[in-house]
Amino acid sequence: MPRLTAYRSWNALPNKENTAGPCVRSGGPQARRSSPQPHLQNKSAMTHSPRTPILVMLAPAVSLVGVFIFLPMLLTIWLSFQAWSTQTGFGSTRFVGLQNYADLLSPLSVGRDFRQAFWNTAFYTALSVIVILPLSVALGLMVYQTRVAGGHVLRTVLFSTYMVPMIAVALVWSKLYSPNEGPLNQIIGWFGFDRQLWLSSPDTALASIVLLNVWQQVGYFTVLVIAGLTQIPTSLYEAARIDGANPVQSFFGVTLPLLRRTLLFSAVIAVINAVQVFEPVALITQGGPANSTNVLTYYIRRVGIERAQGGLGSAMAVTLMLALIVVIVALFAFARRGDDDK
């Protein structure tokens, strides 16, 4: 569960909501006022210590980050300006300038397919996040209510979908979506709806993959929301109730603002997960029909590995990375603006 660990570290960071909670319970301001001295002492000791030991202490971590993160990134960026077959050594690269990037924008098949894959990925990501986050909050609130019988069981059931291997999910869902014999069409038929083509139509195939993703991931994000809810002090709800707030006002005035950090974390993870979508496409649709489920990771694999066009594949990977950076920075900027507005 590396993501949960990351989440715990994230929530351990000082922020308005997290520091507010413990302070209320422990008479906060007093306790906090007594702490600065040792903190200053430590800082002083650090300031006067020789520079070399700090560098020595940092070296292992910096070296690991450099070798395993920055070096591959730089290598990918460098390769994106080269013509290179992935089956040959780096010595066989040929500098082509911006040609690979120009190909991605060209009206020819490689450009058309890349742009289609880019927009498919953007649509998949946006729809996944838009559906998963509100749904996880709704389910989180429902499961968090202590009075709900079997709340723990429901929590386990919700999370269990996250643990099912994708190959099993793909097998089952491809049958569920069958236009002729699929149970989904039979179910919607009972309610008088027309038969849907699901994965067999370019108009609905990508949304069908999103539905599968939501089903699998929503339990995980619900657990995150529940973890966020546990950090909201009940005294705030009591105060809101005394002030005459109804449950809806409490939700928008207390719950949602104090879940901001949790939701930001969830959004970042949901975006990263969604951008990396690969398995359902590779296992179920192969990018079809009519390229409608061709996503960037799948297309990069096709170009970079199947066709061995390493330079072109790297240019796609760099573009994907830049797009992801823009989205994540925008999310943080949005969250910061919300904090500043307060």
């Binding site: 013509a83 098949s109 139509s201 192969q286 029909p289 009519a290 061995a308």
Partner: protein
Amino acid sequence: MKTSHGTTFVSALIATALLSGSALAAPTAISYLTHWSPETVAKLEAAAKEFTAANPDVTVTVRAVPFGDLLTTIRSQGSSAESPTIASIYDLWLPELARDKLVEPAPEANAKEIGSDWPAGVASAASVGGKYYGYPNEIDVYALNYNKKLFAEAGIAAPPATWAEFEAAAEKLTKKEGDRIRQQGFGMINSWAAGVVHPFASLLVSNGGDLIVDGKPTLDSKAAASTFKLYEDFIKKGYTDPAMGTADANTTGPFLDNFVSGNTGMIIMANWWESALKGGLGDRFSDIGTAPIPVGPDGDKARSISYSWLTVVNTGASAEQREAAWKFLSWLNGPSSGKDGASAMSDILLSMGILPSRSSDVTAHAKDLDRDFLAGYVKTLADAKPFPVVLGGQEFSEALQQVIEGIQYGRLSAEEAQANAQADSVSILERAAQ
């Protein structure tokens, strides 16, 4: 002490001798990568066992991956010693795998055997730059498969021989409920490059056209324009429902299910799917007929597209493994490994409905090749054109797939599809040749 030292020395010598002896006796382990189904893999494993019984110094293990992952597996594992020693490949992939030195040219003795025991056209598909790179085994050719029962219900006496008859048959076979196509006259496959491109190419060559001539794409021809238009007409007139033609990573899926269930009247497919049809249809398999590809207005006779598969040896394997691999392949494809002068490979292939290619295998299996379903394919083979094997062939095929699917889903007109297909092909082949 002396004695003790001497004993230890002698013991060490014996131990070393025994160890090196056992190391020498250790069999050479080779592996064989394929995309075949578990039932067929079991047959290959049985053949490998038989080979090991006669050659205890070699053991063969078989690994199978879905067709959609086969090329990726070969590419991603590269030419490392851990990658499969032998791989079964589609001939379209050979030029690039040879260029990237992932596959080894056949040793002289094996090359001589390939050159003399296979028809020249088939053997040439296993060669690049005048060198043979593997043993050709299967030959696949496309033909029109039709449901005799549906034909009888629609009052169609014989399979269509021309495009005009083809269109008329498709119209009669199509049944609709409101806007929904309940039974399609002709099934077009999507979401699988070969499944989309090969039937289209079969109609194109049967209309007197070609995909590539002398390394240059010829999709801007009049014959190609008519073929794109034929597809557009079938979609617009509702004789084809693309939603019924989806394929999955294992090259099965709704297109197969719909043909087996009697929801598709006609489809253009290769002989290898005989086993899939038998599995799905059971006793109703006899309802399926095979006929030549209908001739287009610009065509002179019924033609089709053929392609082959071959088994290649990994350059990254050790010298012992490569030697053992060529020995195994020679035996597997040779006349002594199967029944009645046929090769073990041909027995395995025919169990799936795949045509063997070695001349002696064709003779040995003359009776099997005459069975109803396959006879139609064998007849078609004589006038089939090999799918062009060129550098960039896989990308060319995938690009053409996308424009054909564009027509299938009404996203491109026939004219747009043709213009895109030609421009894409020129660019892809030029870049691949650099």
